[in-house]
């Protein structure tokens, strides 16, 4: 079964949202900060068939809305040159708009809150499209 890279700073959300995906048979590697994933090699990233990134991740600067997730997507696409599908989740519309303006290839944006079943549907759809 395929492997998902899931980054969300909030452990409670992480646990609750990924439960259906795990039950559906996906292997999920979870990380709670960008720092943990930032130093991944291209080889490490390539083992995942999907990345799910939450965009209200802990910020290093003063503003809660600094879009560090954008940097990670940029890095996956432009530094590592990996085209795996990415789902971006955020409760902040500004952050979602920042991502949409970039018009990244194969990136789906979803405004939270979302039901776990709806998220699982997106994951299954992506899996079916990328077989």
């Amino acid at each position: 079964m395929k492997k998902i890279l899931w980054i969300d700073d909030d452990y409670i959300i992480l646990e609750s949202l990924l439960d259906p995906a795990k039950r559906a048979g996906f292997t999920v590697d979870t990380f709670q900060s960008l720092d943990e994933v930032g130093n991944f090699t291209t080889e490490q990233l390539s083992q995942y068939s999907l990345a799910i990134i939450d965009l209200s991740l802990p910020s290093k600067s003063e503003s809660i809305l600094d879009n560090e997730g954008l940097e990670l997507i940029n890095s996956i696409r432009n530094v590592h040159r990996i085209s795996m599908p990415i789902i971006v989740l955020s409760g902040y519309v500004e952050l979602i708009m920042d991502i949409e303006k970039e018009d990244f290839y194969n990136v789906i944006t979803i405004v939270k809150p979302i039901r776990p079943s709806a998220l699982l549907n997106e994951i299954l759809k992506i899996e079916a499209e990328n077989v």
């Binding site: 503003s63 708009m97 018009d103 405004v111």
Partner: protein, 432 residues
């Protein structure tokens, strides 16, 4: 990761301060923010500049002035009176807030009535002039304007500094309080939203485990639904775009900026974005909140581009553009943003679901809409706040005229092209 220098006071307030200072003291003033490391009112301060300084900018030497202003503002060793590269006197005044220098004011552009200072000023001016490679007539004009610079007493200038410092500190204190409040609100929103998202997820996971025939199944569904509604309430409370600051706002500028934002995406899809105004070159200027309106228009235009069919997938008779059309009517101004492509089910429009926060909807070709879930709901809120009526229609274009209707499921409408239009009715009352 890059860190941006963020300003403490918004550009509009910095510009207003510059105007107030000029009205009170008659001295042109520049505000440099310590955190921003830049002139906070940008070039707005130029309108108050002395004829001498304005002329220097006119003949293309403004950059030298900008650098000189900045160097003096952030030079820790120079305080009080400073002399610019052309010999004019300014007063540099630091604005402190909670013991920290938050801004530096540079004001004056005068010559101080003091023999030694005047002598020094002339020397600096002459030396700078000698180094400049400018036409003779410019040199003559500069000398002429230099001789017309107002002379002021040292005391009158420093007295003004005191009152300006007080006003500035007061403004910074107010702005700081507002920022602190916003941060706390943002934090509270973040925490509430996070826990509600987790609760929603837990509730649904729990509901899924209840047997369909159990009497508790319906109750569990109701809990999930209630939590979902609560999430919407919290999302609205978050007020992600901040307060509405109403001012004269050019819709032409907003539409232009929103179109530019998605031009790359449109080009990639082979779609033209046509802007057509029946009555004049410009869309109207309205009393509105620029930030909110820009969000709303960019959202509508983005959707129009995103859900348009690609140019090379079309039939010859199909339109390949997103059209933004405007005209005056008896009651105000009608704006429509139209695109050809993936439609919206009539059922979603009729029930108003498409405008609900967080509703991501079903597209008329059978796909869930991604992104912008809160976009259309928030867009409608922005429009309502401006008294602008927003109506959406999505009409099936195929010859058999199978209208997008709730009678048909999305599967039946799969691949059927639609013309989707967002109609905005702007009332005369807000048009300037």
């Amino acid at each position: 990761l890059k860190r941006k220098h963020t300003r403490l006071i918004p550009y509009e307030i910095a510009s207003l301060l510059v105007d107030i200072f000029y009205a009170k003291t008659n001295f042109p003033t520049i505000i440099f923010e310590t955190r921003l490391r830049e002139n906070a009112s940008k070039d707005h301060c130029l309108i108050h500049f002395s004829p001498f300084c304005k002329y220097i900018f006119e003949i293309g030497l403004g950059e030298k002035c900008r650098t000189c202003h900045k160097d003096r503002a952030f030079d820790l060793g120079c305080n009080g009176i400073t002399t610019c590269w052309l010999g004019l006197h300014n007063i540099k005044s630091q604005i402190k807030f909670e013991g920290e220098v938050v801004a530096v004011l540079l004001f004056g552009q005068r010559l101080i009535n003091d023999e030694n200072r005047l002598k020094n000023s002339k020397e600096v001016f002459q030396k700078a002039l000698n180094k400049l490679d400018i036409p003779y007539e410019d040199e003559v004009k500069i000398k002429q304007l230099y001789n017309q610079i107002e002379h002021v007493d040292y005391d009158s200038m420093t007295n003004q500094a005191e009152s300006i410092e007080h006003i500035s500190s007061w403004i910074y204190e107010m702005v700081n309080q507002k920022i602190q409040f916003e941060k706390k609100t943002q934090y509270a929103y973040h925490e509430l939203a996070a826990y509600l998202q987790a609760t929603l997820a837990d509730a649904e996971n729990f509901m899924m485990q209840i047997d369909n025939f159990s009497p508790y199944k319906e109750q569990a569904k109701q809990v999930v639904f209630s939590i979902e509604r609560m999430n919407v309430v919290v999302q609205n409370f978050g007020g992600f775009l901040g307060d509405y600051y109403l001012k004269e706002t050019s819709l032409t500028d907003i539409i232009k900026r929103s179109v530019e934002m998605y031009m790359v995406l449109a080009k990639r899809k082979g779609i033209d974005i046509i802007i057509y105004n029946k009555d004049s070159r410009d869309f109207p200027t309205i009393l509105g909140s620029e930030r909110h309106l820009e969000f709303a228009f960019s959202n509508i235009i983005h959707n129009a581009v995103k859900y348009s069919f690609k140019g090379w997938h079309r039939r010859i008779s199909d339109p390949i553009e997103v059209e933004i059309f405007g005209q005056y009517t008896q009651n105000g101004y009608e704006l429509s943003i139209r695109n050809f492509g993936v439609g919206i089910l009539a059922n979603e429009i009729d029930t108003g679901k498409i405008f609900e926060h967080g509703y991501r909807g079903i597209l008329a070709r059978g796909e869930y809409r991604t992104g912008g879930g809160a976009g259309l709901g928030a867009t409608r809120e922005v429009m309502i706040a401006h008294d602008i009526k927003i109506v959406l229609d999505s009409v099936c274009t195929q010859k058999d005229q199978r209208q997008a209707s709730s009678k048909f499921s999305y599967k039946e409408l799969e691949g059927v092209p639609h013309i989707t239009t967002v109609h905005l009715s702007i009332p005369m009352g807000i048009i300037k």
